[in-house]
Protein backbone atom coordinates (compact mmCIF):
# COMPACT_ATOMS: atom_id res chain seq x y z
CA UNK A 1 0.00 0.00 0.00
CA UNK A 2 1.56 3.27 -1.09
CA UNK A 3 1.36 6.44 0.97
CA UNK A 4 -0.41 8.21 -1.89
CA UNK A 5 -4.21 8.04 -1.89
CA UNK A 6 -4.89 9.96 -5.09
CA UNK A 7 -2.60 10.79 -7.97
CA UNK A 8 -3.54 12.78 -11.05
CA UNK A 9 -1.01 13.31 -13.82
CA UNK A 10 -1.76 15.60 -16.77
CA UNK A 11 -5.49 14.94 -16.67
CA UNK A 12 -7.54 16.56 -19.41
CA UNK A 13 -11.27 16.70 -20.05
CA UNK A 14 -13.27 18.65 -22.61
CA UNK A 15 -16.89 18.71 -23.70
CA UNK A 16 -16.88 19.68 -27.34
CA UNK A 17 -14.69 22.75 -27.62
CA UNK A 18 -15.02 23.61 -23.96
CA UNK A 19 -12.01 22.63 -21.87
CA UNK A 20 -13.22 21.65 -18.40
CA UNK A 21 -9.98 20.31 -16.92
CA UNK A 22 -6.67 21.32 -18.40
CA UNK A 23 -3.48 19.27 -17.77
CA UNK A 24 -4.20 18.94 -14.08
CA UNK A 25 -1.75 17.15 -11.80
CA UNK A 26 -1.80 16.78 -8.03
CA UNK A 27 -1.48 14.08 -5.46
CA UNK A 28 -3.06 13.51 -2.09
CA UNK A 29 -1.29 11.64 0.70
CA UNK A 30 -3.09 9.16 2.90
CA UNK A 31 -4.56 10.79 5.99
CA UNK A 32 -4.55 14.20 4.39
CA UNK A 33 -7.46 16.57 3.80
CA UNK A 34 -7.00 18.01 0.35
CA UNK A 35 -9.21 20.74 -1.02
CA UNK A 36 -10.14 21.66 -4.56
CA UNK A 37 -11.04 25.30 -4.28
CA UNK A 38 -12.56 27.37 -7.02
CA UNK A 39 -15.66 29.20 -8.20
CA UNK A 40 -18.61 27.44 -9.86
CA UNK A 41 -17.55 26.13 -13.23
CA UNK A 42 -13.88 25.74 -12.30
CA UNK A 43 -14.08 21.99 -12.97
CA UNK A 44 -14.21 20.73 -9.38
CA UNK A 45 -17.17 18.38 -9.78
CA UNK A 46 -15.77 17.03 -13.04
CA UNK A 47 -12.56 16.12 -11.24
CA UNK A 48 -14.49 14.44 -8.42
CA UNK A 49 -16.48 12.41 -10.95
CA UNK A 50 -13.35 11.38 -12.82
CA UNK A 51 -11.73 10.18 -9.58
CA UNK A 52 -14.69 7.87 -9.05
CA UNK A 53 -14.62 6.52 -12.58
CA UNK A 54 -18.00 8.10 -13.31
CA UNK A 55 -16.44 10.06 -16.14
CA UNK A 56 -13.46 9.16 -18.34
CA UNK A 57 -10.61 11.64 -18.82
CA UNK A 58 -9.58 12.51 -22.39
CA UNK A 59 -5.94 12.26 -21.43
CA UNK A 60 -3.63 11.80 -18.47
CA UNK A 61 -3.45 9.21 -15.74
CA UNK A 62 -5.52 8.80 -12.58
CA UNK A 63 -4.66 6.46 -9.73
CA UNK A 64 -6.90 6.16 -6.68
CA UNK A 65 -5.98 3.90 -3.73
CA UNK A 66 -3.40 2.19 -5.97
CA UNK A 67 -6.00 1.33 -8.62
CA UNK A 68 -5.93 2.74 -12.15
CA UNK A 69 -9.11 4.74 -12.83
CA UNK A 70 -11.47 4.37 -14.64
CA UNK A 71 -10.52 0.81 -15.63
CA UNK A 72 -10.47 -0.48 -12.04
CA UNK A 73 -12.55 2.28 -10.48
CA UNK A 74 -15.01 -0.26 -9.15
CA UNK A 75 -12.34 -1.86 -6.99
CA UNK A 76 -11.26 1.55 -5.73
CA UNK A 77 -14.86 2.59 -5.02
CA UNK A 78 -15.26 -0.34 -2.65
CA UNK A 79 -12.94 1.61 -0.32
CA UNK A 80 -14.28 5.10 -1.04
CA UNK A 81 -17.16 6.98 0.57
CA UNK A 82 -18.87 9.62 -1.54
CA UNK A 83 -20.78 12.70 -0.46
CA UNK A 84 -22.26 14.07 -3.70
CA UNK A 85 -23.00 17.70 -4.38
CA UNK A 86 -26.77 17.09 -4.43
CA UNK A 87 -28.36 14.75 -1.93
CA UNK A 88 -29.46 11.52 -3.55
CA UNK A 89 -30.91 9.83 -0.50
CA UNK A 90 -33.99 7.64 -0.71
CA UNK A 91 -36.64 10.12 0.39
CA UNK A 92 -39.41 7.56 0.94
CA UNK A 93 -37.20 5.36 3.08
CA UNK A 94 -36.39 5.88 6.74
CA UNK A 95 -32.94 6.91 7.90
CA UNK A 96 -32.15 3.34 8.92
CA UNK A 97 -33.47 1.89 5.66
CA UNK A 98 -31.19 4.22 3.74
CA UNK A 99 -28.18 2.77 5.53
CA UNK A 100 -29.34 -0.79 4.90
CA UNK A 101 -30.03 -0.28 1.23
CA UNK A 102 -26.67 1.40 0.74
CA UNK A 103 -24.74 -1.19 2.73
CA UNK A 104 -26.11 -3.89 0.46
CA UNK A 105 -24.66 -2.10 -2.57
CA UNK A 106 -21.29 -2.83 -0.97
CA UNK A 107 -22.19 -6.48 -0.59
CA UNK A 108 -22.66 -6.22 3.17
CA UNK A 109 -24.93 -8.72 4.92
CA UNK A 110 -27.80 -7.61 7.15
CA UNK A 111 -25.76 -8.63 10.19
CA UNK A 112 -22.76 -6.58 9.09
CA UNK A 113 -24.93 -3.52 8.52
CA UNK A 114 -26.71 -3.99 11.87
CA UNK A 115 -23.31 -4.03 13.52
CA UNK A 116 -22.23 -0.64 12.17
CA UNK A 117 -25.53 1.24 11.82
CA UNK A 118 -25.83 2.38 15.47
CA UNK A 119 -22.37 3.95 15.52
CA UNK A 120 -23.02 5.67 12.18
CA UNK A 121 -26.33 7.08 13.43
CA UNK A 122 -24.56 8.29 16.52
CA UNK A 123 -21.77 9.81 14.46
CA UNK A 124 -24.33 11.68 12.36
CA UNK A 125 -26.28 12.66 15.52
CA UNK A 126 -29.36 10.99 14.05
CA UNK A 127 -30.01 8.33 16.73
CA UNK A 128 -33.44 9.75 17.50
CA UNK A 129 -34.34 9.94 13.81
CA UNK A 130 -33.55 6.34 12.86
CA UNK A 131 -37.13 5.48 11.94
CA UNK A 132 -38.10 8.83 10.46
CA UNK A 133 -38.60 9.19 6.73
CA UNK A 134 -35.81 11.11 5.04
CA UNK A 135 -38.32 13.46 3.40
CA UNK A 136 -39.11 14.78 6.90
CA UNK A 137 -35.50 15.66 7.77
CA UNK A 138 -33.97 19.14 7.64
CA UNK A 139 -31.27 19.97 5.10
CA UNK A 140 -28.52 19.64 7.70
CA UNK A 141 -29.80 16.25 8.86
CA UNK A 142 -29.97 15.00 5.27
CA UNK A 143 -26.39 16.03 4.73
CA UNK A 144 -25.32 14.25 7.92
CA UNK A 145 -27.16 11.14 6.79
CA UNK A 146 -25.38 11.35 3.44
CA UNK A 147 -22.12 11.50 5.38
CA UNK A 148 -23.10 8.52 7.55
CA UNK A 149 -24.11 6.62 4.43
CA UNK A 150 -20.73 7.35 2.87
CA UNK A 151 -19.05 5.73 5.87
CA UNK A 152 -21.00 2.47 5.77
CA UNK A 153 -18.22 0.57 3.97
CA UNK A 154 -15.56 1.95 6.37
CA UNK A 155 -13.80 3.74 3.49
CA UNK A 156 -10.14 4.81 3.46
CA UNK A 157 -10.98 7.81 1.33
CA UNK A 158 -13.90 10.23 1.34
CA UNK A 159 -14.70 12.22 -1.77
CA UNK A 160 -16.94 15.14 -0.94
CA UNK A 161 -18.35 17.47 -3.56
CA UNK A 162 -19.40 20.74 -1.90
CA UNK A 163 -20.37 19.04 1.37
CA UNK A 164 -21.85 22.12 3.05
CA UNK A 165 -23.30 24.09 0.15
CA UNK A 166 -26.83 25.20 0.95
CA UNK A 167 -26.55 24.66 4.70
CA UNK A 168 -27.06 27.29 7.37
CA UNK A 169 -23.99 28.25 9.44
CA UNK A 170 -24.93 26.06 12.39
CA UNK A 171 -25.39 22.96 10.24
CA UNK A 172 -22.18 23.76 8.40
CA UNK A 173 -20.15 23.97 11.60
CA UNK A 174 -21.55 20.65 12.74
CA UNK A 175 -20.43 19.01 9.47
CA UNK A 176 -16.97 20.55 9.78
CA UNK A 177 -16.68 19.26 13.32
CA UNK A 178 -17.66 15.75 12.15
CA UNK A 179 -15.12 15.89 9.33
CA UNK A 180 -12.35 16.80 11.76
CA UNK A 181 -13.28 13.72 13.80
CA UNK A 182 -12.88 11.61 10.65
CA UNK A 183 -9.49 13.16 9.90
CA UNK A 184 -8.40 12.41 13.46
CA UNK A 185 -9.34 8.78 12.77
CA UNK A 186 -6.90 8.78 9.87
CA UNK A 187 -9.30 9.01 6.92
CA UNK A 188 -8.22 10.74 3.74
CA UNK A 189 -10.58 13.44 2.51
CA UNK A 190 -10.81 15.07 -0.87
CA UNK A 191 -13.14 18.03 -0.68
CA UNK A 192 -14.36 20.43 -3.31
CA UNK A 193 -15.63 23.76 -2.14
CA UNK A 194 -16.10 27.35 -3.09
CA UNK A 195 -16.10 28.40 0.57
CA UNK A 196 -12.71 29.82 1.38
CA UNK A 197 -13.50 29.50 5.07
CA UNK A 198 -14.24 25.80 4.70
CA UNK A 199 -10.99 25.20 2.86
CA UNK A 200 -9.02 27.18 5.41
CA UNK A 201 -10.52 25.40 8.40
CA UNK A 202 -10.33 21.83 7.13
CA UNK A 203 -7.70 21.41 4.46
CA UNK A 204 -4.09 20.45 5.10
CA UNK A 205 -3.35 21.39 1.53
CA UNK A 206 -5.37 22.72 -1.33
CA UNK A 207 -5.33 23.38 -5.00
CA UNK A 208 -6.88 26.58 -6.33
CA UNK A 209 -8.65 26.08 -9.67
CA UNK A 210 -9.76 28.56 -12.25
CA UNK A 211 -11.36 27.39 -15.52
CA UNK A 212 -9.93 23.91 -15.15
CA UNK A 213 -6.37 25.08 -14.52
CA UNK A 214 -4.41 24.84 -11.32
CA UNK A 215 -3.35 28.35 -10.34
CA UNK A 216 -1.90 27.60 -6.92
CA UNK A 217 -1.25 24.68 -4.62
CA UNK A 218 -0.07 24.46 -1.04
CA UNK A 219 -0.96 24.77 2.61
CA UNK A 220 -3.61 27.43 3.26
CA UNK A 221 -1.43 29.57 5.57
CA UNK A 222 1.57 29.25 3.26
CA UNK A 223 -0.54 30.41 0.31
CA UNK A 224 -1.82 33.34 2.33
CA UNK A 225 1.67 34.32 3.43
CA UNK A 226 3.13 33.91 -0.01
CA UNK A 227 0.47 35.83 -1.93
CA UNK A 228 -0.72 38.37 0.65
CA UNK A 229 1.51 38.34 3.73
CA UNK A 230 0.09 41.43 5.40
CA UNK A 231 -3.06 42.83 6.94
CA UNK A 232 -6.09 43.69 4.87
CA UNK A 233 -8.22 46.80 5.16
CA UNK A 234 -11.64 46.63 3.58
CA UNK A 235 -13.15 50.00 2.82
CA UNK A 236 -16.82 50.40 1.95
CA UNK A 237 -18.41 53.62 0.71
CA UNK A 238 -17.00 56.58 -1.12
CA UNK A 239 -15.57 56.43 -4.62
CA UNK A 240 -13.20 53.44 -4.60
CA UNK A 241 -11.12 54.76 -7.49
CA UNK A 242 -10.57 58.11 -5.83
CA UNK A 243 -9.71 56.39 -2.55
CA UNK A 244 -7.26 54.15 -4.33
CA UNK A 245 -5.26 57.14 -5.50
CA UNK A 246 -5.30 58.55 -1.97
CA UNK A 247 -3.91 55.49 -0.20
CA UNK A 248 -1.77 54.02 -2.97
CA UNK A 249 1.56 55.13 -1.46
CA UNK A 250 0.94 53.14 1.73
CA UNK A 251 -0.38 49.93 0.20
CA UNK A 252 1.51 46.97 -1.15
CA UNK A 253 -1.41 46.19 -3.38
CA UNK A 254 -4.98 47.37 -3.90
CA UNK A 255 -7.97 45.64 -5.41
CA UNK A 256 -11.44 46.94 -6.10
CA UNK A 257 -14.26 44.41 -6.14
CA UNK A 258 -17.67 45.93 -6.66
CA UNK A 259 -18.09 48.72 -4.13
CA UNK A 260 -15.40 47.38 -1.83
CA UNK A 261 -11.77 48.37 -1.85
CA UNK A 262 -9.27 45.85 -0.53
CA UNK A 263 -6.03 47.40 0.61
CA UNK A 264 -3.12 45.09 1.43
CA UNK A 265 -0.90 47.09 3.73
CA UNK A 266 2.08 45.98 5.83
CA UNK A 267 1.51 49.02 8.08
CA UNK A 268 -2.27 49.54 8.13
CA UNK A 269 -2.11 52.43 10.62
CA UNK A 270 -0.58 54.61 7.88
CA UNK A 271 -3.63 54.01 5.72
CA UNK A 272 -6.02 54.64 8.56
CA UNK A 273 -4.38 57.99 9.35
CA UNK A 274 -5.23 59.21 5.88
CA UNK A 275 -8.83 58.11 6.16
CA UNK A 276 -9.42 59.62 9.59
CA UNK A 277 -12.52 61.73 9.84
CA UNK A 278 -14.14 60.27 6.73
CA UNK A 279 -17.61 59.62 8.17
CA UNK A 280 -18.85 58.31 4.79
CA UNK A 281 -16.55 55.26 4.98
CA UNK A 282 -16.80 51.99 6.83
CA UNK A 283 -13.40 50.53 7.51
CA UNK A 284 -12.65 46.96 8.54
CA UNK A 285 -9.16 45.76 9.32
CA UNK A 286 -8.55 42.00 9.42
CA UNK A 287 -5.90 39.32 8.86
CA UNK A 288 -5.64 38.02 5.28
CA UNK A 289 -7.48 34.86 4.19
CA UNK A 290 -7.84 32.59 1.19
CA UNK A 291 -10.48 34.85 -0.27
CA UNK A 292 -7.78 37.47 -0.73
CA UNK A 293 -5.49 34.89 -2.31
CA UNK A 294 -8.18 33.95 -4.78
CA UNK A 295 -8.97 37.54 -5.62
CA UNK A 296 -5.28 38.18 -6.09
CA UNK A 297 -4.62 35.09 -8.23
CA UNK A 298 -7.61 35.18 -10.51
CA UNK A 299 -7.14 38.83 -11.28
CA UNK A 300 -10.83 39.46 -11.12
CA UNK A 301 -11.77 43.08 -10.47
CA UNK A 302 -8.08 43.84 -10.25
CA UNK A 303 -6.58 47.31 -10.58
CA UNK A 304 -6.86 48.34 -14.16
Amino acid sequence: MSTVAIDLAGVKKSFGDKVIVNELSFSVARGECFGLLGPNGAGKSTIARMLLGMMSPDGGKITVLDEPVPSRARVARARIGVVPQFDNLELEFTVRENLFVFGRYFGMSTGEIEAVAPSLLEFARLESKADVRVSELSGGMKRRLTLARALINDPHLLVMDEPTTGLDPHARHLIWERLRVLLARGKTILLTTHFMEEAERLCDRLCVLESGCKIAEGKPDALINEHIGCNVIEIYGGDPHQLRDLIRPYARHIEVSGETLFCYAPRPEQVRVHLRGRADLRILQRPPNLEDVFLRLTGREMEK
Binding site: M55, S71, R74, R77, P84
Partner: protein
Protein backbone atom coordinates in the same frame (compact mmCIF):
# COMPACT_ATOMS: atom_id res chain seq x y z
CA UNK B 1 -13.91 2.20 -25.58
CA UNK B 2 -13.64 -1.60 -25.33
CA UNK B 3 -11.92 -1.45 -21.98
CA UNK B 4 -14.32 1.10 -20.55
CA UNK B 5 -17.32 -0.88 -21.84
CA UNK B 6 -15.97 -3.95 -20.08
CA UNK B 7 -15.70 -1.87 -16.88
CA UNK B 8 -19.44 -1.09 -16.86
CA UNK B 9 -20.58 -4.69 -17.42
CA UNK B 10 -22.06 -6.51 -14.41
CA UNK B 11 -19.17 -7.12 -12.03
CA UNK B 12 -20.42 -10.53 -10.90
CA UNK B 13 -23.49 -12.74 -10.89
CA UNK B 14 -25.06 -11.35 -7.70
CA UNK B 15 -24.42 -7.59 -7.40
CA UNK B 16 -27.75 -6.89 -9.12
CA UNK B 17 -29.63 -8.40 -6.18
CA UNK B 18 -28.95 -5.28 -4.07
CA UNK B 19 -30.70 -3.15 -6.72
CA UNK B 20 -33.61 -5.58 -6.88
CA UNK B 21 -33.96 -5.50 -3.09
CA UNK B 22 -33.94 -1.69 -3.09
CA UNK B 23 -36.83 -1.68 -5.55
CA UNK B 24 -38.64 -4.39 -3.64
CA UNK B 25 -38.42 -2.34 -0.42
CA UNK B 26 -39.80 0.72 -2.20
CA UNK B 27 -42.57 -1.34 -3.80
CA UNK B 28 -43.56 -2.96 -0.48
CA UNK B 29 -44.42 0.46 0.88
CA UNK B 30 -47.17 0.89 -1.69
CA UNK B 31 -47.81 -2.71 -2.72
CA UNK B 32 -51.59 -2.75 -2.48
CA UNK B 33 -52.12 0.23 -4.76
CA UNK B 34 -49.54 -1.16 -7.16
CA UNK B 35 -51.23 -4.57 -7.41
CA UNK B 36 -54.67 -3.07 -7.93
CA UNK B 37 -53.30 -0.71 -10.57
CA UNK B 38 -51.63 -3.61 -12.36
CA UNK B 39 -54.80 -5.67 -12.40
CA UNK B 40 -57.41 -3.09 -13.30
CA UNK B 41 -56.46 -2.50 -16.94
CA UNK B 42 -56.03 -6.09 -18.16
CA UNK B 43 -59.11 -7.24 -16.26
CA UNK B 44 -61.20 -4.52 -17.87
CA UNK B 45 -59.99 -5.68 -21.27
CA UNK B 46 -60.51 -9.32 -20.45
CA UNK B 47 -64.09 -8.93 -19.29
CA UNK B 48 -65.06 -6.14 -21.64
CA UNK B 49 -63.78 -7.87 -24.75
CA UNK B 50 -64.22 -11.41 -23.51
CA UNK B 51 -67.89 -11.21 -22.62
CA UNK B 52 -68.85 -8.59 -25.17
CA UNK B 53 -66.96 -9.77 -28.25
CA UNK B 54 -67.02 -13.37 -27.05
CA UNK B 55 -70.78 -13.54 -27.65
CA UNK B 56 -70.33 -12.42 -31.27
CA UNK B 57 -67.26 -14.44 -32.03
CA UNK B 58 -68.12 -17.80 -30.55
CA UNK B 59 -65.18 -20.20 -30.62
CA UNK B 60 -61.66 -19.38 -31.77
CA UNK B 61 -59.06 -22.00 -32.65
CA UNK B 62 -61.13 -24.61 -30.88
CA UNK B 63 -61.59 -22.82 -27.56
CA UNK B 64 -63.99 -20.25 -26.17
CA UNK B 65 -63.06 -16.71 -27.11
CA UNK B 66 -62.54 -15.63 -23.51
CA UNK B 67 -60.08 -18.49 -22.89
CA UNK B 68 -58.26 -17.51 -26.09
CA UNK B 69 -58.18 -13.88 -24.97
CA UNK B 70 -57.15 -14.69 -21.38
CA UNK B 71 -53.92 -16.29 -22.58
CA UNK B 72 -53.22 -13.24 -24.75
CA UNK B 73 -53.94 -10.93 -21.82
CA UNK B 74 -51.48 -12.75 -19.58
CA UNK B 75 -48.69 -12.06 -22.08
CA UNK B 76 -49.89 -8.51 -22.69
CA UNK B 77 -50.06 -7.59 -19.04
CA UNK B 78 -46.54 -8.95 -18.54
CA UNK B 79 -45.43 -6.76 -21.45
CA UNK B 80 -47.10 -3.56 -20.25
CA UNK B 81 -46.12 -4.08 -16.64
CA UNK B 82 -42.41 -4.51 -17.49
CA UNK B 83 -42.51 -1.71 -20.05
CA UNK B 84 -44.09 0.82 -17.71
CA UNK B 85 -41.96 -0.12 -14.73
CA UNK B 86 -38.83 0.49 -16.79
CA UNK B 87 -40.01 3.50 -18.76
CA UNK B 88 -41.42 5.49 -15.87
CA UNK B 89 -40.11 4.13 -12.57
CA UNK B 90 -36.59 3.17 -13.69
CA UNK B 91 -36.28 6.37 -15.70
CA UNK B 92 -37.19 8.38 -12.58
CA UNK B 93 -34.56 6.49 -10.59
CA UNK B 94 -32.00 7.26 -13.27
CA UNK B 95 -33.01 10.87 -13.85
CA UNK B 96 -34.97 12.88 -11.28
CA UNK B 97 -34.45 10.76 -8.15
CA UNK B 98 -30.69 10.30 -8.71
CA UNK B 99 -30.92 6.79 -7.30
CA UNK B 100 -28.61 5.40 -9.95
CA UNK B 101 -26.11 8.15 -9.29
CA UNK B 102 -25.96 7.10 -5.64
CA UNK B 103 -25.53 3.45 -6.63
CA UNK B 104 -22.79 4.30 -9.13
CA UNK B 105 -20.71 5.73 -6.28
CA UNK B 106 -20.62 2.28 -4.65
CA UNK B 107 -18.88 -0.83 -5.91
CA UNK B 108 -21.73 -1.61 -8.31
CA UNK B 109 -21.37 -1.02 -12.03
CA UNK B 110 -23.87 0.39 -14.49
CA UNK B 111 -24.39 -3.15 -15.81
CA UNK B 112 -25.28 -4.33 -12.29
CA UNK B 113 -27.89 -1.58 -12.04
CA UNK B 114 -29.38 -2.31 -15.47
CA UNK B 115 -29.54 -6.03 -14.69
CA UNK B 116 -31.16 -5.36 -11.32
CA UNK B 117 -33.75 -3.10 -12.92
CA UNK B 118 -34.52 -5.66 -15.64
CA UNK B 119 -34.99 -8.51 -13.20
CA UNK B 120 -37.10 -6.22 -11.02
CA UNK B 121 -39.34 -5.22 -13.94
CA UNK B 122 -39.62 -8.91 -14.89
CA UNK B 123 -40.65 -9.68 -11.30
CA UNK B 124 -43.45 -7.17 -11.55
CA UNK B 125 -44.42 -8.70 -14.90
CA UNK B 126 -44.64 -12.11 -13.24
CA UNK B 127 -46.92 -10.62 -10.62
CA UNK B 128 -49.15 -8.93 -13.20
CA UNK B 129 -49.24 -11.85 -15.65
CA UNK B 130 -49.82 -14.45 -12.97
CA UNK B 131 -52.63 -12.41 -11.44
CA UNK B 132 -54.53 -12.50 -14.74
CA UNK B 133 -53.77 -16.21 -14.98
CA UNK B 134 -55.22 -16.77 -11.53
CA UNK B 135 -58.39 -14.90 -12.46
CA UNK B 136 -58.67 -17.02 -15.63
CA UNK B 137 -58.12 -20.25 -13.68
CA UNK B 138 -60.62 -19.25 -11.01
CA UNK B 139 -63.26 -18.70 -13.69
CA UNK B 140 -62.38 -22.01 -15.31
CA UNK B 141 -60.81 -20.68 -18.53
CA UNK B 142 -57.48 -22.36 -17.76
CA UNK B 143 -56.31 -25.14 -15.47
CA UNK B 144 -54.35 -24.29 -12.33
CA UNK B 145 -51.18 -26.20 -13.32
CA UNK B 146 -51.17 -24.46 -16.69
CA UNK B 147 -50.63 -21.11 -14.90
CA UNK B 148 -47.52 -22.62 -13.34
CA UNK B 149 -46.30 -23.78 -16.77
CA UNK B 150 -46.88 -20.31 -18.18
CA UNK B 151 -44.80 -18.59 -15.51
CA UNK B 152 -41.36 -19.04 -17.14
CA UNK B 153 -42.77 -17.45 -20.31
CA UNK B 154 -44.29 -14.60 -18.30
CA UNK B 155 -40.93 -13.95 -16.63
CA UNK B 156 -39.07 -14.08 -19.95
CA UNK B 157 -41.65 -11.73 -21.50
CA UNK B 158 -41.03 -9.32 -18.63
CA UNK B 159 -37.27 -9.44 -19.22
CA UNK B 160 -37.72 -8.88 -22.97
CA UNK B 161 -39.91 -5.81 -22.61
CA UNK B 162 -37.92 -4.37 -19.72
CA UNK B 163 -34.81 -4.76 -21.84
CA UNK B 164 -36.42 -3.07 -24.85
CA UNK B 165 -37.77 -0.24 -22.68
CA UNK B 166 -34.28 0.19 -21.23
CA UNK B 167 -33.08 1.06 -24.74
CA UNK B 168 -35.91 3.59 -24.96
CA UNK B 169 -34.98 5.31 -21.70
CA UNK B 170 -31.31 5.32 -22.61
CA UNK B 171 -32.22 7.44 -25.66
CA UNK B 172 -35.22 9.48 -24.48
CA UNK B 173 -34.41 13.03 -23.38
CA UNK B 174 -37.58 13.20 -21.25
CA UNK B 175 -40.83 11.46 -20.34
CA UNK B 176 -42.57 12.99 -23.37
CA UNK B 177 -40.84 10.57 -25.73
CA UNK B 178 -42.24 7.50 -24.00
CA UNK B 179 -45.67 8.14 -25.51
CA UNK B 180 -44.22 7.47 -28.99
CA UNK B 181 -42.92 4.08 -27.96
CA UNK B 182 -46.21 3.27 -26.32
CA UNK B 183 -48.47 4.31 -29.19
CA UNK B 184 -46.23 3.32 -32.09
CA UNK B 185 -44.72 0.10 -30.78
CA UNK B 186 -46.50 -1.36 -27.77
CA UNK B 187 -50.15 -0.78 -28.70
CA UNK B 188 -49.85 -1.95 -32.36
CA UNK B 189 -48.10 -5.08 -31.11
CA UNK B 190 -51.23 -6.05 -29.16
CA UNK B 191 -53.19 -6.15 -32.42
CA UNK B 192 -50.45 -7.66 -34.57
CA UNK B 193 -49.41 -10.47 -32.26
CA UNK B 194 -52.59 -12.47 -31.86
CA UNK B 195 -53.70 -11.20 -28.47
CA UNK B 196 -57.30 -10.33 -29.35
CA UNK B 197 -57.64 -12.29 -32.61
CA UNK B 198 -55.57 -15.01 -34.31
CA UNK B 199 -52.75 -13.73 -36.54
CA UNK B 200 -54.25 -15.81 -39.36
CA UNK B 201 -56.78 -12.98 -39.72
CA UNK B 202 -54.00 -10.58 -40.78
CA UNK B 203 -53.01 -9.99 -44.43
CA UNK B 204 -50.18 -12.31 -45.49
CA UNK B 205 -47.32 -9.82 -45.40
CA UNK B 206 -48.39 -8.60 -41.95
CA UNK B 207 -48.38 -12.17 -40.71
CA UNK B 208 -44.70 -12.56 -41.58
CA UNK B 209 -43.81 -9.27 -39.96
CA UNK B 210 -45.91 -10.04 -36.87
CA UNK B 211 -44.31 -13.43 -36.42
CA UNK B 212 -40.98 -11.66 -35.80
CA UNK B 213 -42.32 -9.47 -32.99
CA UNK B 214 -41.47 -10.45 -29.42
CA UNK B 215 -45.05 -10.34 -28.15
CA UNK B 216 -46.06 -12.89 -30.82
CA UNK B 217 -43.57 -15.38 -29.39
CA UNK B 218 -44.81 -14.68 -25.86
CA UNK B 219 -48.47 -15.07 -26.79
CA UNK B 220 -47.81 -18.33 -28.62
CA UNK B 221 -45.88 -19.74 -25.67
CA UNK B 222 -48.45 -18.66 -23.07
CA UNK B 223 -51.23 -20.17 -25.19
CA UNK B 224 -49.28 -23.41 -25.51
CA UNK B 225 -49.25 -23.60 -21.73
CA UNK B 226 -52.69 -22.28 -20.85
CA UNK B 227 -54.67 -23.99 -23.60
CA UNK B 228 -52.57 -27.12 -23.11
CA UNK B 229 -51.57 -27.51 -26.70
CA UNK B 230 -48.62 -29.45 -28.05
CA UNK B 231 -45.09 -28.12 -27.67
CA UNK B 232 -44.63 -27.17 -31.33
CA UNK B 233 -41.72 -24.78 -32.04
CA UNK B 234 -41.23 -24.01 -28.32
CA UNK B 235 -37.46 -23.88 -28.71
CA UNK B 236 -37.71 -21.33 -31.53
CA UNK B 237 -39.99 -19.08 -29.49
CA UNK B 238 -37.79 -19.30 -26.40
CA UNK B 239 -34.67 -18.65 -28.48
CA UNK B 240 -36.24 -15.58 -30.11
CA UNK B 241 -37.32 -14.19 -26.74
CA UNK B 242 -33.85 -14.77 -25.30
CA UNK B 243 -32.34 -12.76 -28.14
CA UNK B 244 -34.89 -9.99 -27.55
CA UNK B 245 -33.87 -9.93 -23.89
CA UNK B 246 -30.10 -10.15 -24.26
CA UNK B 247 -29.26 -7.93 -27.25
CA UNK B 248 -31.08 -4.84 -25.92
CA UNK B 249 -29.37 -5.38 -22.56
CA UNK B 250 -25.94 -4.90 -24.13
CA UNK B 251 -27.14 -2.09 -26.35
CA UNK B 252 -28.86 -0.18 -23.54
CA UNK B 253 -25.86 -0.55 -21.23
CA UNK B 254 -23.61 0.92 -23.91
CA UNK B 255 -26.07 3.76 -24.57
CA UNK B 256 -26.50 4.46 -20.87
CA UNK B 257 -22.74 4.52 -20.43
CA UNK B 258 -22.60 7.23 -23.06
CA UNK B 259 -25.46 9.06 -21.42
CA UNK B 260 -24.41 8.85 -17.78
CA UNK B 261 -20.68 8.16 -17.64
CA UNK B 262 -19.19 10.06 -20.53
Amino acid sequence: MGESYAAVMPANAYNWIAVWRRNFLAWRKGALASILGNLADPLTNLFGLGFGLGLLVGRVEGTSYIAFLAAGMVATSAMTSATFETMYAAFARMDTKRTWEAILSTQLTLGDIVLGELVWAASKAVLAGTAIGIVAATLGYASWPSILYAMPTIALTGLVFASLAMVVISLAPSYDYFAFYQTLVITPMVFLCGVVFPTSQLPGSFQHFASLLPLAHSVDLVRLAMLERGAESTAMHVGALCLYAILPFFASTALLQRRLLR
